[in-house]
């Protein structure tokens, strides 16, 4: 049914119009979102036609015939009032349940998703693959593989938007957000910033290249020898002197970071906190906000000394210290 509608729309677009009516659907969720969109469009057309049609009929049928005509009074009709209160309410319930079900389902990335990292910066997108390959304003992804993007901003709020995937999320400084998608159609697609971010907001655009898994592997291989994100992080960890306090054998002035990622740690206040991306980032840029029992609050802040990309690399390194079994259950 949906296929027929879509084919029909495509043909319509190709045959009679010089602009398309719908964007390409290139992700696993796109067609489901479109189906809801079509339903809402049909509903809008129906009620608009109903109201316009009724008004039009009344306009003709009940036009004033003599200047001093006084029409008879009409009493308020309770059953009618209830009808047009209850029916729209029921329709809204249906839409709400449908839309929310889709949204909830679309918002949870599969556990197997490959994680990539995005940093928005006036006015460009920095992207790093776990293998270490970096791109600017381009994102290469394999078709048929769930990809999870962990995103943050170096400066103002941006928004990562790939219309053909029907995914969008704000990219906010000081916190991590994530989206996921599974591309279903090979091709080259727009990547937009959808949150106004200053002068060149409209130039903060790029391309998403959806490739076959083989092409993607070849593309990655072109950058063979690039250190992985975790290796980048390890180098930074040593360069910044983190290792002198956070010694692996717990002999330093700070806690060892081996095996802590993805675990819950007890704070001085007695609360348990999950060690996730946000926690590690906070520990780096605002260490005094995290009070641990048995450790003095002596760590200096690294805010301003490390870029958001470097923070992500450090996180990747801390993650890699967690051991194999913990890397995938961070969320």
């Amino acid at each position: 049914m949906m296929g027929i509608v879509q084919t029909g729309l495509h043909q319509l677009a190709a045959a009679t119009l010089w602009f398309p009516l719908k964007p390409t659907a290139a992700s696993s969720i796109a067609e489901n979102v479109d189906l809801l969109y079509y339903f809402l469009t049909a509903l809008t057309l129906f009620f608009t036609a109903l109201i316009f049609g009724t008004i039009f009929v009344f306009m003709i049928k009940y036009r004033r015939r003599t200047p001093d005509e006084i029409p008879p009074d009409t009493k308020t009709h309770m059953a009618l009032e209830l009808t047009w209160t209850i029916i729209p309410t029921l329709i809204c319930v249906v839409i709400f349940v449908w839309a929310s079900w889709l949204y909830v389902r679309n918002s949870v990335p599969p556990a197997s998703a490959t994680e990539m990292f995005v940093v928005g910066k006036q006015w460009m997108w920095h992207i790093q693959h776990p293998e270490g390959v970096r791109e600017i304003n381009e994102l290469h992804v394999p078709v048929g593989t769930p990809i999870k993007l962990t995103m943050t901003s170096e400066d103002v709020i941006h928004d990562f938007y790939i219309p053909v995937f029907r995914v969008k999320h704000d990219v906010t400084p000081g916190r991590y957000s994530s989206i996921w998608f599974e591309a279903t159609e090979k091709g080259t697609y727009h990547l937009f910033c959808a949150q106004y971010c200053g002068t060149d907001h409209a130039e903060m655009i790029g391309w998403v290249y959806v490739m076959s898994p083989q092409e993607y592997a070849n593309w990655l291989a072109m950058s063979a020898g690039t250190p992985s994100m975790a290796q980048d992080g390890e180098r930074l960890f040593n360069q910044l002197g983190c290792a002198s306090c956070h010694a692996a054998d717990n002999s330093g002035r700070g806690p060892s970071l081996v095996g802590i990622y993805g675990t819950e740690q007890r704070m001085k206040s007695g609360d348990l906190k999950l060690v996730d991306e946000t926690f590690v980032r906070q520990s780096i840029v605002n260490p005094n906000s995290i009070a641990l029992p048995n450790y003095a609050p002596i760590m200096p802040t690294f805010q301003g000394q490390v870029s958001e990309e470097q923070v992500l690399q450090l996180i990747a390194y801390v993650k890699s210290l967690a051991g194999e079994e913990r890397t995938s259950n961070s969320k």
Partner: protein
């Protein structure tokens, strides 16, 4: 007090020229206008001010649409385009739409419709106009001194730490203008509670009064929040106190919560008065009692209440929790129901009526159509799954222009045409007025309908340049904007003309019900020589009072 307390009998005497004395010709001095406590004169002062702001804001819109004819931009550099859309939004929202119907038609009509001689606090009313002018002056100053480029939403930390434009003067303008809204709201609430004519109980009130009442509640409860938000923004920008910028310990999402806590209800500040005007126009031009009076009246209050609980639907893609998203989504659907009820009741009012098609009615019918589309496309945005795709695109732009321009501005123009004979005592050329209504309707749809498609195709809003494939739809939209622009100039010309040369209107040219139509046009300064006693229901065209129960 001297002008507020009136010697009624003095007004019985005609002027030396033989003209009857009215609020316009009672004194022609500039001082008598600038220091007037007469709600009708203050309404005129507001009318002139907001008309000026409307055309300034409209000029920016025209420049934007001209710029967007070419994918690479036709007219200005990106930073100037960003200023154009920001100043268009700031001026249209804060200096035009928010005060539009309440401060002009509301000011003029609230006392007249309830049989009072003025608002409860005439001096406060004059003060609110001066506050408005000072606020608007700050806004215009920021335009002249280089402009502001944050978007009318002022999102942090861009506005607080990154923008190099006139953010603070603009924020001060918004801050100050807000107080004029608060004073107007306060004045209306007290007036409607305390100054209704004998016999005019709540369920005999015209629905315009119910709408003004609901709007006033939002004015009073919501506006202080935007004032606080602008104040905090100024603090962070000037003194670098970390409130919203995470680099100095703030939270940018907090700003969005505060901003939309006012700015979503503000959408209803803009549309509720329009709904009130609609109820007056539909009944007058079909000579029918409104269908479902109590449903229409209470739906205004329901909208005012629920409007405070839906702000989170602006933040579905900010990282708000899934549960918060679900709650804001369901509440957003809920706020659609009272609007739907109103549309159905207006349509049903036409049933078996005696419908005539003077210009105000054409605006009213245009409103119903455009508001219906604006409302229904809101469902796409209340739906979580589709909002993710449509948020931040031209779909949003189209949706809220259908409500704000297709709805609020159409209702404002309809109301202005309806009460113009009462306000000025003059008739305008109806054929021109009908023609203008048609031009505006066509121009509006051509401007904004293509933007729905653009949004679904994925074109983000606030883009100074755009990919080539979006050009056709953008050119259509720009073509529509030029028609719309002309449509707005036509009434400006014939209304000004009619003020001087229009034929005399007489007290009630439409044969409409309502206390305001029982007075001469233009009304005398004191409105009613003797306070009327109300024995009728509102809109009782069939003269059935005494037999009909409410609702």
């Amino acid at each position: 007090m001297s002008t507020a307390t009136l010697d009624i009998h003095a007004h019985d005497a005609p002027l030396p020229s033989g003209e009857r004395k009215n609020y316009l010709n009672v004194d022609h001095s500039v001082k008598s206008w600038l220091l007037t406590y007469d709600h009708k004169r203050i309404a005129i002062l507001y009318l002139i001010s907001i008309t000026l702001m409307f055309f300034v804001g409209g000029l920016f819109a025209v420049l934007m649409r001209v710029h967007l004819i070419e994918p690479q931009g036709f007219l200005v550099a990106p930073e100037n385009y960003n200023k154009l859309f920001t100043m268009h939004g700031v001026i249209m929202v804060f200096s035009f739409l928010v005060p539009s119907i309440p401060a002009t038609l509301g000011n003029f009509l609230v006392p007249m419709m309830i049989g009072a001689r003025d608002l409860a606090f005439p001096k406060l009313n004059l003060m609110s106009w001066y506050i408005y002018v000072i606020g608007a002056a700050f806004t215009l100053y920021s335009v002249i001194s280089g402009g502001v480029d944050t978007g009318w939403t002022f999102y942090t930390p861009y506005s607080s730490s990154f923008a190099h434009t006139q953010v603070v003067p603009t924020a001060i303008g918004v801050f100050i203008t807000g107080f004029s809204s608060i004073l107007t709201g306060l004045n209306f609430i007290v007036t409607i509670h305390k100054m209704r004519a004998p016999g005019l109980n709540w369920f005999r009130l015209p629905l315009f009064i119910w709408a003004m009442y609901a709007t006033s509640v939002i004015f009073i409860l919501g506006t202080p929040v935007i004032a606080v938000t602008m104040f905090l923004l100024g603090l962070e920008r000037l003194l670098h106190i970390g409130i919203f910028d995470p680099a100095i310990g703030g939270d940018p999402i907090l700003f969005q919560h505060l901003f939309w806590f006012y700015s979503h209800p503000a959408v209803y500040i803009m549309i509720l008065p329009g709904m009130g005007v609609m109820s007056e126009l539909i009944t007058a031009f079909s000579r029918k009692r409104i269908f479902g009076y109590t449903f229409v009246a209470f739906s205004s209050l329901a909208i005012a209440v629920i409007s405070f609980l839906v702000w989170g639907h602006h933040m579905f893609v900010t990282g708000q929790s899934v549960y918060a998203g679900l709650i804001f989504s369901v509440l957003s659907f809920l706020v659609a129901i009272p609007s739907a009820i109103k549309v159905f009741n207006w349509t049903a009012t036409l049933y078996k009526g005696s419908i005539s098609y003077e210009a105000p009615m054409l605006y009213a019918l245009g409103f119903i159509g455009l508001f219906t589309m604006g409302g229904l496309t809101g469902l796409f945005l209340a739906s979580l799954a589709t909002d993710v795709h449509l948020n931040g695109t031209y779909f949003i732009v189209a949706h809220f222009h259908y409500i704000m321009v297709g709805g609020a501005v159409m209702a404002y123009l309809g109301g202005l045409h309806f009460w113009w004979p009462k306000i000025t005592g003059r008739l305008y050329p109806d054929a021109w007025a009908r023609f203008a209504a048609l031009v505006i309707f066509v121009g509006f749809n051509l401007t904004f309908f293509p933007q729905f498609v653009l949004g679904y195709l994925g074109m983000p809003r606030r883009y100074a340049v755009y990919p080539l494939e979006f050009q056709t739809l953008n050119v259509m939209s720009s073509a529509g904007a030029s028609i719309l622009g002309i449509g707005y100039l036509i009434p400006l010309i014939y209304l000004i003309w009619s003020f001087k040369y229009g034929p005399s209107a007489g007290p009630n040219p439409w044969g409409a019900k309502g206390l305001e139509w029982t007075t001469p046009s233009p009304p005398p300064t004191e409105n009613f020589p003797t306070i009327p006693v109300v024995t009728e229901q509102a809109y009782d065209y069939a003269q059935t009072t005494g037999m009909v129960e409410h609702g």
